[in-house]
């Protein structure tokens, strides 16, 4: 079962840069892009909101915290509280580098927290590292 990368990122430029760099690192998995919280939630939790729709799917979630319609923290919290989704690794990728925020994300169960650097070298590097991480990580299918 191939792993699907779910990218929740409101800035399309960022999304494009992330996608490009993931591809450059040799990750060819399907990437699903969402530009707002609600459409991502609908996809993840299904029309009934239980997450049953993703049962058995292997997902890797890339999450931005600053979304126009809802807080990324809320999405993280709901994912980690859902019995079908909580095993999916969540990578928070955002501009916020406030230590309180980072701590909160890890407490809520985020697996990796990356601050988007303005320096593109660093940015590309970080994403490529992430790609490397994706290729070695064992993504368990959503719990049955």
């Amino acid at each position: 079962m191939p792993v699907t990368i779910i990218m929740i990122e409101d800035d399309e430029g960022h999304a494009r840069l992330i996608e490009r760099n993931i591809r450059r690192s040799g990750v060819n998995n399907e990437i699903l892009s969402f530009t707002n919280g609600n459409s991502a939630m609908k996809h993840l939790f299904g029309p009934d909101g239980t997450g049953l729709a993703q049962k058995g799917n292997a997902l890797l979630i890339l999450l931005d915290l600053n979304l126009p319609d809802m807080s990324g923290i809320d999405i993280l919290k709901q994912i980690k509280e859902n019995k079908y989704l909580k095993a999916s690794p969540v990578v928070v990728l955002t501009t916020t580098d406030d230590s309180q925020e980072i701590k909160r994300c890890y407490e809520l169960g985020c697996n990796v927290y990356i601050t988007k650097p303005v320096n593109y070298e660093n940015f590309a590097n970080a994403i490529r590292q992430l790609g490397l991480f994706f290729s070695v990580i064992q993504v368990p299918p959503a719990a049955s």
């Binding site: 800035d11 430029g13 960022h14 600053n66 650097p117 303005v118 070298e121 940015f123 590309a124």
Partner: protein, 505 residues
């Protein structure tokens, strides 16, 4: 209470006291005068009584002479004659005395003239009577007595005497009345004066009480005003703090949101750069294509001069964009760090300042050695403050001192400390290039620098240091001349606690 009113009241009180003084003086003078008058009047009363007595004494002597003469006439005893002569001898001095006493009164002088005349006549008659008796002609003497009686000499003496006594009695009445009047006047003057003094005293007491009341009221108002002022200050302080927090939040959000597009700009600029390289490589390849042949495959294909120029311009433009973005990113990061510092809660702890500064100096030892700078630490007062904040303050200042030394001159940096009124004062002085006095304010502004720009820096250090010092309830200042070294002076409370900060902000 206006100053004008206060002055007027004070003036009124002075006036009142002056009036009291005048009244007292007047009473005293009046009393002295009236008492003198009364004494004078009494003297005259006594004088009148004396005159009366003298008249009576004179008349008595005349009677004695008369009775002595009659006795002698009847009995011819020498004893009566001696009596008579004694009385006659006393009459003239008594008359003289009386004349002296009533010398001031013309009416009495007239009376006394009549009296003296009558007495003289009678004395003459006495002498003749005695002579006749002595010559043994008693009937002639008896005839003289009856002549005297019929001529009224004795009556004349009596009536003149009683006229004098009447006159003196009249004078006595008059003078007694005068004396009474003087005394009554003195008494009433004293009474009225005392009354006036009492009234003035009452007015004074009233005025003093009124001014005391006004003062109490003013004090109460002042107290109220103070309380209000404190409340107002608290309110303003709260407002300021809120505004400050608002600015901090604003700066934080803005710098974050500015960063997001910057990631895109930087990212796609870099992408564009890569793209540019690809494009120029292809241009190079295409220009080398022999007609009809396959494109040349090579890692590095040299470009035409014109194409090379284009490629260089392209790279240069992108380079400017990238360096600007990098700079903007640094500024945003600086703002973010400042706001983060501004939100950090201070943890006061006791700091052994000397050890603390030595640690900072040793961490800067490498830079100091490179700049050939020597750092001297003089005795420093220990303080209770936030360690991290102090570390940033001192390391920034010492770092600056090392950074801006004069090239070619061995640096000498000195850290001094002293205490004053609950504050510790630290001086960090150097013999470096100094700061133009015109720039003394500017160097504390964010992103502003002064002097020769030959060292890397963002213009953040001093702004940050000053913000920290202020938050710690202190002040900082600089004294410096161009090419004459600089001294940065920091004043910090010896015992920092949260209330220092509140009091200061």
């Amino acid at each position: 209470m206006t100053a004008e009113g206060r002055r007027r009241r004070a003036f009124g009180q002075i006036l009142l006291f002056a009036a009291g003084l005048v009244v007292l003086t007047a009473i005293s003078a009046g009393s002295v005068y009236l008492v003198n008058e009364a004494r004078n009047d009494s003297k005259w009363v006594v004088h009148t009584i004396e005159v009366e007595n003298q008249v009576n004494a004179l008349l008595l002597e005349v009677r004695r002479a008369e009775s002595g003469a009659r006795g002698y006439l009847l009995t011819r005893e020498a004893g009566f004659r001696t009596d008579h002569e004694k009385a006659v001898a006393a009459i003239i001095p008594a008359l003289d005395r009386l004349t002296r006493l009533i010398g001031d009164n013309p009416a009495q002088r007239q009376n006394i003239e009549q009296l003296s005349a009558a007495i003289e006549t009678r004395l003459g008659q006495f002498a003749r009577e005695i002579d006749f008796v002595g010559q043994g002609q008693p009937e002639k003497a008896t005839a003289l007595v009856s002549e005297a009686a019929s001529a009224g000499t004795t009556i004349a003496i009596g009536s003149a005497g009683s006229a004098m006594i009447r006159e003196e009695e009249r004078l006595f009445q008059l003078r007694t009345a005068n004396a009474d009047r003087s005394q009554t006047l003195a008494a009433s003057l004293t009474g009225i004066g005392s009354g006036l003094v009492v009234v003035l005293a009452l007015i004074s007491i009233w005025l003093v009480r009124r001014s005391a009341r006004i003062r109490d009221e003013a004090e109460a108002q002042l107290r109220d005003a103070n309380v209000n002022l404190e409340a107002t200050i608290d309110e303003r302080t709260a407002d300021l703090r809120e505004a400050n927090d608002e600015i901090q939040r604003f700066a934080y959000i803005v710098s974050h949101d500015l960063r997001s597009p910057l990631v895109n700009i930087m990212g796609f600029t870099s992408e564009l750069e890569e793209l540019g390289k690809d494009i120029f490589r292809r241009i190079g390849a295409l220009t080398r294509v022999p007609a009809g042949g396959p494109p040349v495959e090579a890692a590095e294909i040299p470009l035409d001069d014109a194409d090379k120029q284009l490629s260089a311009d392209f790279s240069e433009a992108l380079g400017f964009i990238k360096s600007s973005i990098a700079r903007m990113d640094r500024l945003i990061s600086a703002i973010l760090n400042l706001t983060r510092e501004g939100r950090r809660e201070f943890q006061p702890e006791r700091i052994d300042t000397r050890d603390f500064i030595e640690a900072i100096v040793s961490s800067l030892a490498h830079q100091a050695a490179e700049a050939q700078a020597e750092i001297h630490i003089e005795p420093l007062p220990n303080i209770v403050s936030d360690r991290l904040a102090l570390e940033q303050i001192f390391s920034n200042l010492i770092d600056n001192a090392i950074k801006y030394l004069k090239t070619g001159v061995p640096g000498e940096i000195r850290i001094r400390g002293r205490t004053k009124l609950g504050y510790a004062i630290f001086d960090i002085s150097d013999n470096g290039r100094g700061i133009d006095p015109r720039d003394h304010q500017r160097i504390f502004d964010l992103f502003r620098r002064a002097g020769t720009q030959d060292k890397p820096g963002q213009g953040i250090g001093l702004a940050h240091v000053r913000a920290l010092v202020r938050r710690l309830g202190g002040t900082m200042s600089v004294s410096s001349e161009l090419n004459a070294g600089s001294t940065f002076t920091i004043t910090l409370p010896i015992n920092w606690n949260a209330s220092n900060r509140n009091a200061d902000r």
